[in-house]
Assembly symmetry: C2
DNA sequence: CATTCTTACGTACTGCGTAAGAATG
DNA sequence: CATTCTTACGCAGTACGTAAGAATG
């Protein structure tokens, strides 16, 4: 008999391009996926995948079948949403965030999700922008919250907030309070983020556009390391103003004002649209509500 | 997670009005059905059935859920139909027939089904018209082939053929070859079928309409017994001409012509329309093709 | 030769059946 | 008190995971 498990296998194999990926997505093994497909093919006497080469290419019948599978799964998802009281919805959701979010409002977000969906298990993963995007593509996470790096993002994205960064350094390195032209920033030793970081990517392009040539650059893919290096006076770095407010007040760090200033970085929550989980959409909504880059877990104030 | 088994349970409980009936229909136990329902209710945190009294009354949410269940099951059925090569369709179909059909063309029908759907398991049951109708209502059979007793039948019905009956008796009882008025038939001892038999029901009404008062009646619910009793000269009976042709030729039996003659009895194949099995429809079609009340398993000729 | 799917075999777990229990009319 | 659903408990059969095999590029 036709089962949801078979449909899920078919669906995710096609979506992700391999048995292996589908297996990961469905938290099982290639073996199980392979057997679900064989079961389908045997039950219907139809070849779903082209077995000639070892690729997961659909046959014609397979394509039709895939459409039906999608339809059936979407329909089920809709019904589950429709019938579930939020309180009873049992599911896992995997959220990917970057360091800054993890350091500021991730706990707020998780609390908000738990409050609205008490039975949902939230798994969070902290990683670089680029890695998170790959993982979303591979569907090993459900929602990611990352800096917006392109005008049009490849997945359903919701703006959740923005971060104002400023050039900062240890007080003793500071050139005084006067505003300097952006280009002059290149005279300082710089501590920047790599291209795998969203903020790093955005600002690399920005500096390039502004014709700023970068030299003597220290790169870090860890925000904490970046802050630490800056604090220790190794150079000037762009850092989020809001969450470092206390350090700025104490003048452990000082701002180096430039003209033009650094543009804000917009953060978006992204999830696969085709992904049935409208829970992902709910998380995006909650993220927009919870977003607050001002708090700072490491330096929480009183 | 929402499963088809849960939906089937819900669907058939509502269709048939009790857990017990649903269990029978799904070839399982009340226990299993009960658990599937509880599973649903627990998973969704929703009461589907009103547990106050022990009846299978839907709650409001339950009604909505039922609609979704129906939709999902119908959709699955459609997909199964659409994707299955006939050769590969594995399923069971339960056919109910009356004695006359069993005695004449049932083997032809089964052979025809097997030829078109080699993997389908055919189960046939022989019973009285009324019993078969009850069983169709209880969904313990999928298709029944019975005499049409009403102008409008309660289920999807297809005309498959008709049977010409005639009054017959043993040669020594015969009043000669002359045609007698129908009313005079009442003068003979009669061997008739009970009201649970379709033919019996049809002819009872016919004789009543014609103003024939019946006396000295011997009733049988077994066609074979009826033929046997007639052969042994106990009375006059209405019997199918075509399948008794050889006995008439040998004059073991003779026809007692009446005016008006007995009307033909129309046979229909019926199945539940809402029942997803369009296999049932295919059986009805094959029945119309295979139908042949002329053969006679007990007296096959050469 | 690395990748990707298939096959074989032993196991774990879901879901089932039996049978007894509780509630209803 | 008969009917109908629920609960408890032990079992069976499905579906899974591991690991080795085959095919492909």
């Amino acid at each position: 008999m036709l089962t949801f498990k078979q449909m899920e296998a078919l669906y995710w194999i096609v979506q992700l391009g391999s048995f292996e990926a589908a297996a990961t997505r469905l938290s099982t093994t290639q073996s199980a996926i392979s057997k679900r497909v064989q079961e389908l093919e045997r039950a219907f006497g139809v070849a779903v995948f082209d077995r000639a080469n070892r690729s997961a290419r659909l046959t014609e019948k397979g394509t039709e079948f895939f459409e039906y599978a999608r339809e059936l799964l979407e329909r089920r998802e809709y019904i589950v949403e429709r019938m579930s009281s939020k309180e009873a919805l049992v599911r896992q959701i995997r959220i990917g965030v970057t360091e800054l979010t993890a350091l500021t409002w991730l706990p707020r977000l998780i609390a908000a999700i738990q409050a609205e969906y008490p039975k949902v298990k939230v798994q969070a993963e902290v990683d670089l922008n680029a890695t998170l995007r790959e993982r979303l593509a591979a569907a090993t996470v459900d929602v990611i919250i990352v800096p917006q790096t392109h005008e049009v993002e490849p997945y359903t994205s919701t703006l959740v907030g923005q971060v104002q960064n400023a050039w900062m350094c240890a007080a003793r390195l500071a050139p005084g309070k006067r505003v300097i032209p952006l280009a002059e920033i290149a005279k300082f030793p710089l501590i920047l983020q790599g291209g795998l970081s969203g903020t790093g990517y955005v600002y690399s392009r920005f500096l390039e556009e502004q014709g700023v040539a970068l030299q003597r650059v220290l790169a870090s893919n860890s925000l904490i390391a970046q802050i630490g290096l800056t604090l220790s006076g190794l150079g000037v770095s762009y850092l989020p103003e809001a969450c470092l407010a206390r350090m700025l007040k104490r003048r452990t760090l000082v701002v180096v004002p430039t003209v033009p200033a650094l543009p804000p970085v917009r953060y978006v929550a992204m999830h696969r649209a085709e992904q049935s989980h409208s829970l992902s959409a709910a998380v995006a909504r909650l993220a927009a509500q919870s977003c607050d880059f001002c708090s700072n877990l490491l330096d929480p104030g009183s």
